[in-house]
């Protein structure tokens, strides 16, 4: 009994020691953070959902060269928006970029961002951002398109809506049922847009279309890429943002083609804005002036095959990307209405229409 007890005691002492050491580490870390906050030259905390694929590191490095000491906080779009709104009384971030128009509308409605007119405001089309209040400004464009591999699939429909109206395509296109994410939400907004009135009321035909869309689709498989499913012949069509197409064609050896859409397709326009209540308003605005400028956006576009909204920067973008994004028409979606109703739409789909 005593031997056991002693060993047990030794374990707990070891645990306690480990705890103390860990406390020491954390203790060592904390003052540093406080020191940063107290010092004159604070770190600018930049919230974004657009830091994957090495973009976060690239922006941090470029900003450092330009004299901005920034810290990127990267989270998924919906999570990031929720976090900024939850922190609205005591903001942690100073600038937010990368979220799409819908999320920025949500931030605006919760008064989580403040309006600022950046120095490059006349280089971007007004309607791509927030023409009403100028609360946020556009950086990068992506279209959400339905694609197929033209090397293996030859019976593409003349319009994307045939996928769910024509029984021939039943089960052959992928539908993303993870409706908490931005892209699937925009797909829903795109399908419902023609059936939605100015108050956000959706007609029965709209719901019938959504129901048919999900009922006839093949649900996305968690953890499996759309193009991997193309490769296996599991599905022939699926939705993807234009940003990843070039990388996937290289990786999978596919020849991506886009299914035409008479209604146009939803665009994700990544925006930038100042977080309301930041104690570094001046610095945040300077960062926006720098990051959104034609020069930086042009370099960003070259580095990451993105499509800048900034018209001057667009000249530097990869021509393949410009062609890809230019080949589709922008759907007429009222994002203020969508922002207000997307929550209830998603809920209704989750509760009633998902397979």
């Amino acid at each position: 009994m005593r031997a056991w007890g002693r060993r047990g005691l030794r374990t707990s002492v070891a645990l306690l020691l480990a705890g103390t050491v860990l406390t020491g580490c954390a203790g060592g870390g904390e003052p540093a953070a406080d020191g940063d906050a107290a010092g004159g030259d604070q770190k600018l905390v930049v919230y974004t959902n657009s830091n994957s694929d090495g973009r976060g590191e690239w922006v941090t490095a470029q900003a450092a060269e330009a004299g901005f000491d920034i810290e990127i906080v990267g989270l998924g779009g919906a999570d990031l928006t929720n976090r900024i709104i939850a922190e609205v009384n005591n903001p942690v971030g100073d600038v937010v970029f990368g979220l799409n128009t819908m999320f920025f509308e949500q931030l605006k409605a919760e008064q989580a961002i403040t309006a600022y007119q950046p120095s490059w405001s006349d280089e971007v089309p007004q309607e791509a951002g927030d023409p009403v209040d100028g609360a946020y400004w556009p950086l990068v464009d992506q279209a959400i398109v339905t694609v197929y591999d033209s090397a293996t699939t030859t019976d593409a429909p003349a319009d994307v809506s045939e996928l769910w109206t024509n029984p021939e395509y039943a089960g052959r296109y992928e539908v993303n049922t993870a409706l908490g994410q931005a892209t699937p939400q925009l797909v829903v907004a795109g399908i419902l847009a023609p059936y939605t009135d100015a108050e956000g009321q959706v007609s029965d035909e709209g719901w019938a279309a959504v129901e048919a869309y999900y009922a006839n689709g093949s649900p996305a498989v968690e953890g499996t890429d759309l193009y991997a499913r193309f490769e296996r012949g599991e599905v022939a069509y699926g939705v993807t943002p234009t940003g990843g197409i070039i990388a996937r064609d290289e990786e999978y050896g596919t020849e991506t083609a886009i299914v035409p859409s008479a209604q146009g397709v939803p665009f994700v326009t990544e925006q930038i804005g100042v977080i309301a209540g930041t104690d570094q308003q001046q610095r945040a605005q300077e960062f926006i002036d720098w990051f959104g400028s034609a020069e930086v956006q042009g370099e960003f576009a070259q580095e990451f095959n993105s499509m800048p909204v900034n018209e001057v920067a667009a000249e530097q973008a990869n021509p393949e990307v410009v062609e890809l994004v230019g080949s589709v028409q922008r759907a007429d979606i009222d994002y203020a209405v969508v922002r207000e109703h997307i929550g209830e739409w998603v809920e209704r789909i989750e509760l009633e229409y998902l397979p």
Partner: protein, 607 residues
């Protein structure tokens, strides 16, 4: 959900001749939990220690369990000052939601049976029978400690799924094979059964090791067969611990998230993914909260039932001076063969996915996903990518510090609480106990949201501090989500400390704190260490709490993993996930070894 999923627990064969067995031995010793004692609350209020504990628990519960969740629930159900119960209608009119809810309960109930069957078998072959290479067997079954979550589900899917290589191989021999053979309810139950036996491995093994050898010898001398001994002595003695692990298994089943997502197919979806989606949308948060509360009610009903059964039962009492059991020889040859074949087949089922995860981390992601892997697809790119990225190490350190601190804090903090609750069983302790179980009812993500929204202004209860945006809030959240699990197991351990031991210490003149420090803590230290290790490993790759609470300068691992696997151009995300899985396995394996490995080695030396 905040219920413990995936990797939990350890323990077993290498240590049964050793001290780790004590608390469980004592658990078996424990009389059925006594009903409330009259005057217990008054005695609690008269003891200085009781008052300190009471004040501490009341403060912590008010500040971090009640206030944040009440804030969130009020904002959810009473927006703009008017009570809105439309969530009920919306939910009840949805066939899908009710079906998912039913599936979750069905899954939980099924797992409560299947996990117990497999878990008891595992415990017996590693701790009871004289098996060949028992240590290797034990290591194989212990893999669940280091392997869980999405990668486990994805791993099974890559092996047995529609295009998995086992399916591909089978299809060559049997072309008519339904490629979806491994999906739906059966597949989910199978995967989760093999993934959640960790609690059995840890706590039930320890309980088994504590059974008195002399009792078994006596039964044998009286002519009892192995089957009779198991049925009449071993299983009844294990019953209290079986109840405890059954509750944990049930909770795991209710909160099942990834296995149904990946393997459930259209026919078998559970409610947890729906709760997560709704919790992220402000207009649907009431539905999420309602669904979570419904699951919470199922848990409470189960807990109440278990308490009742526990109280009513009579248990086989074993001697206070227990002689540790030794592995039992097989009585018949064919019995030995059958058990060996079954045990090793099960071992293969456990080990195969882990080996695959290690292998997958060296394979091009595209090849994994397409389901055909050739030698040309081997690559070290993922490893190079993860290990050379600008901040590969930082998140690891941050998460190790947070998880270490939180798991130590919760175990040490609840030490006195658990003791107070077992010592003074009155109406007040029952109330405290229910309050401390709040984190089991709400999903982590809602707890985190409540914390941010509550502490974004100075609050008197925390000394007028603003906690949102500081490094402490995530640590507090980690402590909160681990309270119920820790409390239940510590309470079980405390109930097991014989009163005589404490009385003896008191008679010899030891004060309350000295008694705890010198007598009680040494007895329950192995359980404390085990629970701390479990908490540590389960917090290490947390995402749900971190997403709203992490400090910009201290990015935890869960966030880093998520980031490195996302992105439009990132087709290698699966491979990177496997790299992180293997890294996590190494860290968690190290913790397991620190808590158990060396002690096992010591046992062998003395052996």
């Amino acid at each position: 959900m905040s219920a413990p999923h995936g990797p939990v627990a350890a323990g077993g064969a290498p240590l049964q001749a050793d001290g780790a067995a004590l608390p469980a031995a004592a658990v078996v010793d424990a009389p059925p939990p006594p009903a409330r004692r009259r005057g217990a609350t008054r005695r609690m209020l008269r003891s200085p220690l009781g008052v300190v504990v009471l004040v501490g628990v009341l403060w912590f519960s008010a500040a971090f369990l009640v206030m944040p969740n009440a804030t969130l629930l009020l904002a959810t159900f009473v927006p703009d000052g008017r009570l809105s119960l439309s969530a009920f209608e919306r939910l009840l009119s949805s066939e899908r939601a009710l079906r998912s809810l039913g599936n979750s309960v069905l899954l939980a109930a099924t797992l409560a049976v299947t996990v117990n069957v497999v878990g008891v078998f595992i415990v017996l072959v590693t701790g009871w029978f004289r098996m060949r290479a028992r240590r290797v067997l034990w290591l194989g079954y212990a893999t669940t400690f280091v392997y869980g979550g999405i990668v486990l589900a994805a791993g099974y899917s890559f092996i047995y799924g529609r295009y998995g290589f086992v399916t591909n191989a089978l299809a060559q021999w049997w072309p008519d094979l339904d490629r979806d053979w491994f999906s739906g309810f059966a597949a989910v139950v199978a995967v989760m059964t093999f993934a959640t036996t960790t609690n059995h491995m840890l706590f039930l093994s320890a309980a088994l090791a504590g059974i008195d050898h002399q009792a078994i010898e006596a039964a044998r001398l009286m002519g009892a067969s192995t089957a009779t001994i198991l049925r009449r002595i071993v299983i009844p003695a294990l019953r209290p611990m079986l109840f405890a692990v059954t509750v944990l298994t049930f909770l795991t089943g209710l909160g099942a998230l990834t296995a149904p997502l990946v393997l459930g197919g259209e026919d078998f979806q559970t409610v947890a993914p729906m709760i997560l989606t709704f919790a992220r949308s402000s207009s649907s948060r009431d539905v999420a909260a309602l669904l979570a509360i419904l699951l919470g009610l199922a848990t409470i009903v189960l807990l109440a039932l278990m308490n009742r059964v526990e109280r009513g039962g009579t248990y086989f009492a074993v001697a206070k001076v227990a002689v540790p059991i030794t592995p039992q020889p097989f009585q018949t040859r064919w019995g030995s063969v059958v058990v060996h074949v079954l045990a090793w087949a099960l071992w293969a089922v456990y080990v195969f996915p882990v080996l695959c995860a290690v292998a997958f981390s060296f394979v091009d992601a595209r090849a994994i996903m397409s389901g055909s892997i050739t030698a040309a697809d081997l690559t070290t790119d993922h490893w190079v990518g993860v290990l050379t990225s600008a901040d590969a190490l930082g998140p690891f350190v941050v998460s190790v510090v947070y998880s270490g601190l939180a798991s130590a804090a919760v175990v040490l903090g609840l030490l006195l609480v658990a003791r107070a609750l077992t010592r003074w069983r009155g109406w007040l302790s029952s109330l405290l106990e229910y309050v401390l179980h709040i984190p089991w009812i709400l999903p982590t993500i809602l707890i985190a949201l409540g914390l941010v929204m509550t502490f974004d202004r100075p609050r008197l209860l925390v000394g007028g501090q603003v906690l949102t945006g500081t490094v402490v809030l995530l640590g507090i959240a980690y402590v909160i989500v681990k309270i119920p699990f820790t409390l239940r197991l510590l309470k079980a351990a405390f109930a097991a400390v014989p009163d005589e031991l404490e009385d003896a210490a008191r008679i010899l003149g030891a004060g309350q704190l000295t008694t705890i420090r010198r007598v009680v803590v040494p007895v329950i230290a192995p359980t404390m260490a085990a629970v701390a290790a479990l908490n540590f490993t389960s917090l290490l790759d947390d995402y749900d709490a971190a997403v709203f609470l992490y400090h910009p300068l201290f990015e935890p691992l869960g966030i880093a993993i998520k980031r490195s696997t996302e992105g439009e151009a990132n087709v290698q995300s699966m491979g990177i996930t496997f790299v992180y899985t293997v890294l996590l396995m190494v860290v968690q394996g190290l913790v397991l070894w620190l808590v158990y490995g060396r002690r096992g080695a010591g046992a062998r030396r003395r052996g």
